[in-house]
Symmetry: D2
Subunit: 291 residues, 4 copies
């Protein structure tokens, strides 16, 4: 199959940047957004076409990037998608929803891939996202050129839901690392250790994580807490991970505890807080500023 038309539904911080790469690779690129103004702006800036939802779902490949699986379900249930199309859902969603949507769309001759991305806005900007994909192998291969337009590492990790599961676990690990880093930092500072030097050592050692080498110095030490990934979304994603643990009746104590802490931090945080503000809960417990 040659892909001649691609649509992108949901032009948020990630989607807006991702969709910008598509015209370099595909003839017809449709964009759609709940607030139409954003779609028009995208069309003007990147030479895409702002279309109605009905028209968008006539594309060969339909990307979606929305806040939750519920939003995607609502969208899918409100339109008639072109038979033969592939829906590539980049939402950080719920595995069970992916399984259900894949089964439902199959009946309409449409393939559904759960294809969440990581790499933040900078990765979306540079088309260097990681895409973790669950679903039918043939559909994955057919949709690959479209995904390659926005990502660098694109992996088929299993059947429907597998992509969402990997994303949820990835974000869960990040949350664990974040809690642990805050605990380690307050402990070291309480003992008079220079945190900047200490984290340089840790980042060259076995305790390194993307949290210690990137998040802590660039968001917490410098007190910037830039809102690029909202804490409620991390609470949602870690909740999905905990639900996966429960469904499989596993024992995952560190994951469970860290999810509780994220949930508590989220309840305590001001609105529109970056996920890195979890540090502030630890600061309130220790009267120590992590800097």
């Amino acid at each position: 199959m040659t892909i001649s038309s691609v649509a992108f539904l949901g032009l948020g911080a990630m989607g807006y940047r991702m969709a910008a790469h598509l015209p370099k690779h595909f003839e017809q690129v449709f964009v759609w957004n709940r607030t139409e103004e954003k779609a028009k702006q995208h069309a003007q800036t990147y030479a895409t076409q702002a279309v109605s939802l009905e028209q968008a779902v006539q594309a060969d490949i339909i990307f979606s990037c929305l806040p939750t699986s519920q939003d995607v379900e609502n969208l899918i249930n409100s339109v008639k998608i072109k038979s033969g199309a592939i829906w590539v859902d980049c939402t950080s969603g719920v595995p069970a929803s992916a399984q259900q949507l894949a089964a439902q769309l199959k009946q309409q001759g449409v393939d559904y891939l759960d294809a969440p991305v990581s790499g933040q806005t900078v990765g979306a900007e540079n088309a260097t996202l990681t895409v973790m994909v669950g679903g039918d192998t043939a559909a994955f291969e057919r949709a690959l050129p479209a995904m390659q337009a926005v990502g660098k590492l694109i992996k088929h990790v299993g059947e429907s839901g597998a992509g969402f599961a990997v994303k949820a676990v990835n974000n869960m690990l990040m949350a664990v690392h974040l809690c642990a880093a805050c605990e380690g930092a307050t402990t070291l500072k309480a003992h008079g250790v220079n945190l900047t030097e200490a984290f340089e050592c840790i980042n060259a050692s076995s305790g390194q994580s993307t949290v210690t080498s990137n998040i802590v110095p660039n968001r917490i030490f410098n007190r910037s807490f830039p809102l690029t990934f909202a804490l409620p979304l991390l609470a949602k994603d870690t909740g999905i991970a905990v639900d996966l643990v429960r469904e499989a009746k596993l024992a995952a104590p560190v994951i469970g505890l860290s999810q509780s802490l994220i949930q508590a931090a989220n309840a305590l945080a001001e609105e529109n807080s970056d996920f890195s503000t979890v540090a502030k809960m630890y600061e309130s417990w220790s009267k120590i500023t992590i800097e």
Copy 2:
């Protein structure tokens, strides 16, 4: 001060390799080991001098690399060290012991630096260790050339004990990451996800850690569990971290829980188990093999 003589006490897996670099930089290099045979072998192989403990502590710089702070204390209390010498203790030791030894040796005109290292045997082999140093600034600067002979990143992180504290927290973070990675892996596999592909995605994403990118694939997925860092030593180091939390009367729930899990895994493990066998405890809980 020019360093004309350097001694190395404790030729274990790390010390043996570290001491091998010293003759390239210093005229006189003494080595000493509890079992003398090893020192003689080192002398023959690397042109160092196997000497008595009494003679070794006449060097300008005296390295020690022993299992525990208790071993170092015993050694120090059994000899008369040359006044003006600097004792560089690369043991993964106890911060309170460092403070006590530094104060005690000060009285004898000897400086004590706690200078634990990370980088494993491969780092010792290539002189690319990270050295995290606590103690007097002037002593740190004087001892720096000796430390540069074995390490690459050498950081003065604070007063006496700070080096040990950073090492303990580093290993503690590693332990947290290990537990979380095992929990994440069993969860994903329970849901039919391909672990190799999943961890490739995670390693390109925010959930990455040295555990996910190195330990898990190279020790657990391939079922090798090579004994390079014994689980009881990780139990000891994480215990030091928890003691630091307690001394400062902090709340560090994720650290505390992970230390409990390491302690449990250690109790369950066969003798001479690598720290990565923590995975086996999780496997017994889930009936899932992490591979």
Copy 3:
């Protein structure tokens, strides 16, 4: 409404004893069990009537006491219940299932109360059970005489699902107390304390719980571990509690951790283990026998 007929579905360890009290209070008592033999035996012993399921659901009050909510759903979906009847479900079930069944049966003119019991077989024997009831207030009042025949403390705790929720949380608290008691016991014994004397003190102090005063001495210290409440059922009930936490997006770290530990202990336990064998997991971690 006068209750003239009562049915009891599910004659397990609890149900068999509970149903035995009904003929003292009601004219017609039907019993039904998946394996018919047990119902016949009950009829002979207690002067109840062993009937078909179809006939049983023609009673004014229909008790059920089955392993899981799924079993109850299957039963309810397989029969036509008499309009005006009240279904009193004593299963330790799932709150969401109660809400769904209550709504569904309402349509058929049938009330559904979730009415799980506590008090173990001895409470069933003596009709001293505690019954925690969720559902319609009027239905609760009409069914009260039937519930009073088997229980002593009968409480209307809220709307549909509330009874199941209270039971799940009760069992969850018990699980937390059990883990804590095992941890406390191994700690004390490791320090040479006499456990029997120690628990006598605790039972007269603020640390007392039904676990410390009853479960620990009568099941663990004496190494009897009598199978009266199977560990997999505790794993199920604590799982329901954790799901309630998740649904409400709360932070409940101690509950979450204890559920993980119960899950792990369940995975490690032999088949048909009493819930008190959780102690054996702690014993494997500490090499200490809790006696």
Copy 4:
């Protein structure tokens, strides 16, 4: 030995009431307090003798009831105690300190018993305290009449330090139960359950604890939070329990986590908060009032 004189050092909320019973049983009763005024008041009210510390330690039995083991050590190191006396330390202290003091006093012909009490001020008032005693058996028996004057259940639980260990574990269990009860309560209320009815059910069931039957209804539900046991003291006692776990190199995850939570709640609490205000931390996480 007939006890002819008894001293009581430390007339706080507990000690003041405990010492009041002694004149009923012993001829000479000395009282001493850091702020002398209180001792004089006690002497006037209860016909005891307010004396100097030097005189007090000439009694046959010397009770102490102070905030911490450190306070007791300071006292003991500042005086010359009568040879043959028995020091009965009712402080909630540190086991290692008891061992050290017992050994030290032995050299001066003085026995030391660690004999912490439970039962709160009401138990002190009514001489119904529980006394958990560590130390020499003969000394325990000789001091028993004095301890019976203030307590009801008096148990010899092991060697020096055992009494403190049991008290620390008791308070730790109470802390665990408190955290679990708060978590259970917020979960139930989030699902619309009536908490008063729910806790009545729990208190008649396997999830009962002194926390659920006494602390929660009498301090939290009624929003009284009466200051009878300060949160910092609970943080101290639970810390002692966690140190016992560490010294024995055990895995006690639920205890460890709960101690962290108490530590966090303590950091967040206003000064002079009762231990039951731990509930307020949970309320801040859930936006739910536990009432």
